[in-house]
């Protein structure tokens, strides 16, 4: 049996949804279908489970998508800082190229 979840394209990136789908691939097979306004996820459970369990898993999947959205925000915002810290960390080692 499959369940359909939708995510607003304005609020959630495709990347966040894909990452969440991978994270849940031990429990769910997720088909991702982009529409004009929303991204639809058709979720099929890999093993038989009760309705309660199914609802809990789907709710966790929604939270996971939101988590990945936050992670992408952090990654984007901190990318220059991440590179700067590593460049600074190795600035005196002589390991960098001369360019």
């Amino acid at each position: 049996m499959s369940h359909s979840l939708t995510f607003s394209k304005q609020a959630y990136s495709l990347e966040a949804i894909k990452r969440a789908a991978y994270r849940f691939s031990d429990r769910l097979s997720v088909e991702i279908i982009p529409h004009d306004e929303v991204t639809e996820c058709v979720c099929s459970f890999l093993n038989v489970c009760s309705d309660d369990e199914a609802q809990r898993t789907l709710a966790s999947f929604r939270t996971e998508v939101l988590d990945h959205d936050l992670r992408l925000t952090i990654a984007k915002e901190t990318e220059p800082m991440r590179n700067a810290i590593l460049a600074y960390a190795f600035s005196k080692t002589g390991l960098q190229g001369s360019e």
Partner: protein, 498 residues
């Protein structure tokens, strides 16, 4: 009231309270970090160097959205652990860069551990053995002096200032003349090389004699042996003719201590199905034998452990319960005043609580294969790791890098067999690991994933390595959160493991 002298600026020992009450309007910048659900309410956050915090989900979201006020209790924790940068944390970047450089410095040293399989022969027939052994009368499975000489040439091509040569088997003492040759030759080469050179013999001690002990004493050689627990369990796990493995091991440990010194011998255990309900007995045995700690090791999916199906005999959940029960018991001992360490936890805690990277091969990313440790087999074949050699004994030569008689150092170290698994399994660019807050404590382990799933990365949501590792990371953090005394004990362990 005195006025300050020219050029002298009066300072107070502490900043005023006002200095700590940062106005919201100043704002803050996020520093790189990851987060992962910890329990139903909380998330664990780790920064670029593995410093961690546990915060509830609303706080994390508020923080990421730049709405966390400076008077929130989490603000100073986030600031002091380098998760944010504000206008008065000017040294934050310098400190973080220093810690990052310290964490990564081991990688620049390159290969430090060089393992020599001097013989594949063994007098034991352990069903969980990770190496397919040969009976002890087959000289064909001994390393030759020519192969040893060629291997030593490669050892000293490594730029590492610290070189550890470990003799492995089979049972290496069955080819003791070659051990003598390698030690003496390596020391001779090192007179010019001036490396920090160490030797270890991994032996079951069943055949150690006075000549061997005297040689180990003269050359300051460490002994690493196997002790699986009390006599009945040890002998069940480690059968040999006469069923006297335990007796020989204990006698050997005592002889090593009396000749070389108490701390010149260490022991390792492997968890079999029969060990599962007996973690206290096993730890008590280590206490009785006067060891300072124990390494509670799971079984590995290689060699005879697969052929005999011993590897499949228990699930990772059962091993985690065994491990957690053992850790609880060890903490009880410490609380009662008996200083005793669980070494696997100590390695992980060093990653969590110190700026240092202990360099344990299974918990490194990029993977430690080849660049952290390398193995020279009895026949001259070079493998990226001991586990890679074990796979080869099962017919899978994926991690064969070359042969000391046929290939140069450059050909071996730059081979696709080494570079491909290191590059593909690099945790910072692997699905799920890239987002995982536990990544700074974890490792890539491409050999395990290749052995169990057929590719270097594996499928993380179902990976047994992930399940065991994350189970332990969560447990250690939870223990520290719930008990200040445990935090104090763990900090000591962490500092010892660096």
């Amino acid at each position: 009231m005195h006025s300050p002298r020219p050029g002298f600026r009066a300072v107070s020992k502490f900043e005023s309270l006002f200095a700590y009450e940062k106005p919201l309007t100043d704002g803050y910048k996020l520093l790189p970090f990851r987060f992962t659900p910890f329990d139903d309410q909380n998330y664990v956050l780790t920064n670029q160097v593995g410093e961690f915090l546990v915060l509830d989900r609303p706080t994390v979201e508020t923080f990421v959205r730049h709405h966390l006020p400076a008077d929130n209790p989490a603000y100073n924790d986030l600031k002091s652990k380098h998760f944010l940068l504000d206008s008065d944390s000017s040294v934050g970047i310098d400190l973080l860069a220093l810690k990052a450089r310290t964490k990564l410095r081991r990688f620049a040293n390159f290969t430090g551990l060089h393992m020599f399989v001097v013989s594949l022969r063994c007098d034991h027939s352990c069903p969980y053995c990770q190496v397919s052994r040969q009976s002890d009368d087959k000289i064909a499975y001994d390393m030759s002096t020519e192969t040893a000489e060629k291997s030593l040439e490669l050892v000293f091509r490594s730029p590492s200032p610290n070189i550890k040569i470990e003799f492995q088997g089979g049972e290496p003492l069955l080819n003791f003349p070659l051990i003598k040759f390698i030690v003496e030759r390596a020391k001779s080469i090192n007179e010019l090389q001036k490396r920090n050179l160490q030797f270890v013999i991994a032996t079951n001690l069943a055949n150690i004699n006075d000549e061997m002990l005297e040689f180990c004493r003269v050359h300051n050689i460490l002994i690493s042996t196997s002790l699986d627990g009390p006599a009945d369990l040890h002998n069940k796990n480690r059968p040999r003719p006469g069923n006297d493995s335990y007796q020989r091991t204990i006698e050997g440990i005592n002889r090593v201590r009396s000749t070389l010194g108490r701390n010149q011998v260490n022991a390792l255990m492997t968890t079999s199905k029969a060990s599962l309900g007996r973690v206290k007995d096993i730890i008590d045995e280590y206490v009785r034998q006067d060891f300072n700690g124990i390494f509670l090791r799971t079984m590995s999916p290689y060699g005879f452990a697969i052929k005999t199906k011993w590897y499949e005999a228990y699930h990772s959940n059962e091993w985690l319960k065994f491990y957690f029960d053992g850790l609880d018991y060890i903490l009880e001992l410490n609380r009662a005043g008996h200083v005793f360490v669980e070494y696997y936890a100590a390695i992980i805690l060093a990653k969590m609580l110190t700026p240092f990277e202990p360099g344990f091969v299974d918990l490194r990313s990029p993977a430690g294969i080849g660049i952290g440790a390398i193995i020279y087999n009895y026949d001259g074949d070079v493998y990226a790791s001991d586990e890679g050699r074990m796979l080869a004994e099962m017919g899978d030569k994926t991690f064969l890098l070359g042969n000391v008689h046929k290939n140069t150092y450059e050909e071996i170290i730059l081979s696709d067999a080494l570079l491909a698994p290191i590059e593909e399994s690099f945790a910072a660019s692997v699905p799920m690991c890239t987002d995982c807050a536990f990544e700074p404590f974890c490792g890539a382990n491409p050999v395990f994933h290749h052995a169990t799933t057929g590719d270097f990365v594996g499928h993380k949501p179902t990976s047994e390595f992930c399940e065991k590792s994350m189970g332990i990371f969560r447990h250690l953090i939870e223990l520290m959160r719930s008990d200040v005394e445990v935090r104090r004990i763990f900090t000591k362990w962490a500092n010892q493991a660096c």
